[in-house]
Symmetry: C2
Subunit: 114 residues, 2 copies
DNA sequence: CGGTATCCCCAACGATACTG
DNA sequence: CAGTATCGTTGGGGATACCG
């Protein structure tokens, strides 16, 4: 296959996990249903507003499912759909790449003072 | 390994390929040295200014190498470094995922009218 | 606890014109 | 051809307060 013509699958993936937070959110939910407050803790630095936004978008795209346990106080959790699980699997190599190259990237960024 | 604690490699990957265009740019350069004007053609919709910016950042991060052939008119090309090649390989599953799920994503986005 | 509502900012993105 | 320069835009994201 010639990789130089037409759109590759990346444009689709980017529609789904584009933005600053979505890959991180998926990563931190992959081990099972996770409560809103837990996600917030794990995804360091994200604001509530943005977290909700991103979660809703992921739900709308059938990547996550939201479960409201109808309790007082509220109890909600988010989990990967089967579709979402395939996405997380596709994300895994990128995750490992980052782990293996953390030092190199940090050094390069420091050298470029950015 | 517990995936819920600490930073995963994704934060590193996102530093390198974060933004709207970088994954696409890498994809369209993977087959060999590619001239500026060719990259511009292949990455549909990108402006010259943004393309230059992204290319320079990728060069600074040791993902791409820029070669100036010292000609008039100018002749410059960009190619993956060995390091960049490992990154493109890590991106490959995401690319395939997008190809396989193009229809599903399109349908879901349409249903959410977004 | 799990959200909404509101206001604000800025970095990324875009369009156009110009240059070595 | 491969950039620079300049200006304009936008929406993703941030802070805070409030609500069921």
């Amino acid at each position: 296959m010639d990789t130089t013509d037409g759109p590759c699958g990346l444009d689709v993936s980017l529609k789904v996990i584009g933005g600053k937070w979505k890959p991180l959110i998926l990563y931190h939910i992959q081990d099972g249903p996770t409560r809103f407050s837990q996600v917030k803790q794990r995804v360091a630095g994200i604001s509530e507003k943005v977290l909700i936004q991103q979660l809703r978008e992921l739900v709308a795209m059938d990547v996550l499912i939201r479960r409201d346990h109808q309790r007082v106080p509220p109890m909600v959790d988010y989990a990967l759909t089967p579709f979402g699980k395939t996405l997380v699997e596709a994300l895994q190599p990128l995750c490992e790449w980052g782990t293996q190259n953390r030092a190199h990237v940090a050094a390069t960024l420091a050298a470029a003072s950015g």
